[in-house]
Symmetry: C2
Subunit: 407 residues, 2 copies
């Protein structure tokens, strides 16, 4: 056997689907990858994994790519878990950690999903991929497609951050700006699948980006000596990471690798200008309505409708967590506050998490000694539009020392 996948499974109704051929969705909803966890349990130990190279591919038994197939890799992972004593103290937390995904290839967590999805697509014979993107996914898809030698089409809202536009062209993708939102771009990708012969790499519309994102949870668990934190703050647009981590924890529990029986509370963080999951959570619903007039400078959260809504909501509720909307007005200030407190390049989506964290600590919903992990999902400079900046000018021939001293 050269992989441990048992089958694919429709998330909406449990239908068993075959592995080893191209798959998108089932009944317009996502598909899970299921593994022979009992066989993995006897095949590998945490100690063996600890001796492997620091890459998300160290969890190879828990990934779908057959062992005799070379992954498409840019050296992704592991990313550090950084203790943030100074910022924690400001917030009243003694055990605040940031898992810094900005250090991945292309500067965001999107690389994890694309490493897995592009590796699988290439193995299954795909030559051309396409996707809509709110920002970082386009750059990551373009980069991994380039590495794999695949053709890549990227469709992004016209007001996507300039860095995301730049990087899509940098990696040779055929990239377009669309006068709409990510769901409008998604419709183009769907409509073009037959006409253009591309494989749809959209969030949760194929099964493997989820498996790549799952490695955030695997890494976090290993880095915390297989004891999960008490609370996770995670910015959710399409939600693959949140769903993937929850799947990771469940698989690790079944493998018997976890110390301690409790799972973390998942706090799904959205921006008030686009908070469909928060609305559904508050209304007690399993499916989320399209959020009208979506807008936020946290472009990764500008996802008004998500095919994985019920998977997110199921995970949040099972964890005892909640979905919360952050203040749009505080995003730029929190980017700078978090970045300057700890030196971690904090993206707007993560700024939203910190703002929510501050309120929840103040409300007594997070205990001062709780082990809290905030995911920093991307590098701040990918969002030049999100934080105003303006450096004062100095004349080299008449240096204004008073201005320097006053700064």
């Amino acid at each position: 056997m050269n992989h441990y996948v048992s089958h694919l499974e429709a998330a909406i109704d449990g239908t068993v689907l075959p592995f080893g051929q191209l798959a998108n969705m089932h009944n317009a909803r996502p598909i899970w990858v299921r593994y022979h966890l009992d066989k993995i349990k006897s095949a590998v130990t945490p100690a063996q994994i600890a001796a492997r190279a620091p890459s998300l591919w160290r969890y190879r038994e828990l990934l779908p790519l057959p062992f005799d197939v070379e992954p498409v890799t840019l050296g992704e992972g592991m990313t550090p878990v950084l203790h943030c004593a100074r910022l924690g103290k400001q917030l009243g937390l003694s055990q605040l950690f940031v898992k810094d995904e900005s250090q991945l290839p292309t500067g965001s967590f999107k690389s994890r999903g694309m490493a897995a999805a592009v590796s699988m697509a290439k193995w299954l014979g795909v030559k051309r991929v396409a996707l809509p993107t709110a920002g970082n996914a386009g750059g990551a898809a373009a980069a991994y497609a380039a590495r794999a030698g695949l053709e890549c089409f990227v469709f992004m809202p016209h007001d996507t951050p300039v860095v995301n536009q730049f990087e899509a062209q940098l990696y040779g993708a055929k990239a377009f700006r669309v006068n709409g939102l990510i769901n409008d771009c998604g419709k183009i990708v769907k409509d073009g699948a037959e006409r253009m012969g591309w494989f749809d790499l959209s969030t949760l519309k194929e099964p493997y980006r989820l498996e790549g994102k799952k490695t955030m949870g695997l890494e976090l668990a290993e880095q915390m000596q297989w004891a999960l934190p008490d609370v996770i703050f995670y910015p959710t647009g399409g939600g693959t990471g949140l769903i993937g981590m929850w799947k990771a924890f469940a698989e690790l529990k079944e493998l018997g690798w976890l110390r301690g029986a409790t799972f973390p509370r998942l706090i799904s963080c959205q921006a008030e200008g686009c908070a469909p999951i928060v609305r559904a959570f508050d209304k007690g619903e399993r499916f989320a309505d399209l959020f009208p007039n979506a807008h936020t400078v946290a472009s990764g959260l500008r996802v008004p409708v998500a095919v994985g809504d019920f998977m997110m909501l199921d995970a949040i509720r099972a964890s005892g967590g909640k979905a919360v909307a952050g203040s749009e007005a505080k995003i730029g200030a929190w980017m700078q506050r978090a970045s300057s407190a700890e030196g971690i390049s904090t993206c707007p989506e993560t700024a939203v998490c910190f703002e929510i964290l501050e309120r929840m600590v103040a409300a007594g919903e997070i205990k001062p000694d709780a082990r809290v992990v905030v995911f920093n999902t991307g590098a701040a400079p990918k969002y030049l539009e999100a934080m105003p900046y303006n450096l004062p000018a100095l004349d080299k021939d008449r240096v204004d020392w008073d201005a320097i001293a006053r700064a």
Copy 2:
């Protein structure tokens, strides 16, 4: 003993200087850190290092920070060494590798030097640092100073890439734009040392950024199973990385950790608009004159005068390598060519390296089966100005499929 440093040594005349107190230069020239390599040899083995966490601090015995002092860290290193089969084939090389430093904190190799220098400065009691920067060093210094809780002043040429301006403010540095070049900014830092009470973190004007950069060479050696490559292409502005790697190789040789007796040829790559080291190399001189009217879009190479010029030129000559100037006009095209061939986010300085590599292969100076390593020193999106980009627009209500098909 809680470190293996034997002493500091003036690079220009070998004067022995004490370790454990603040040091800048000696006779206006840089200072080496020297170690008790014999003691390190009996204290640690490559196998022990291989079992440590993937960070540049795994080489702790070869770094100056005492073992009982916590490093100032953002989780820097290790960075991947990626085999580039597709780009290699285009260039006629079977063993082309890129060491991708864009995956470090703040997206550039500058983080290595700053991790070491800020850790040492904090240990030695510094509260306030300052530096001039051509681009990425400012962001890295600001981030590590923030992580350390130090105050940071950054001075950059007025036309420094916008992302570098953004990130300096993001991390809370007091950052200024100066109507001059990096040496003009350096003069402000020098002049202000007494008045403002800051410690000068300029390239090679303190001994420890060099030690941090040295870890590029240590990592590369370990990742290539302690067998060094045949040729290294490295973009040289201030030159700390080139000098640091050469020092790393010498230390590893003395430790007896290297397989094979030969060191790589070092190819120092500069841009034709600012090539002081190339001029000095061609003239057979050990010191380089100031390069007048320096200009290049590869902002990291816009260093018209370097205090470590003789250290660079000594290393290049000892290696049997050379210094070569790349074509300014080809930088943008090579950024896109390399990035789209391999998915690696290729900065303009590294684009210069590839252009020179292509010419040297064509001239027969690099054999087709040579093991060639090119350093990618930063993430391409930090240089929005260096590559033109323009995404075509699509109307979501009337999708122009012909335009998509023609792309």
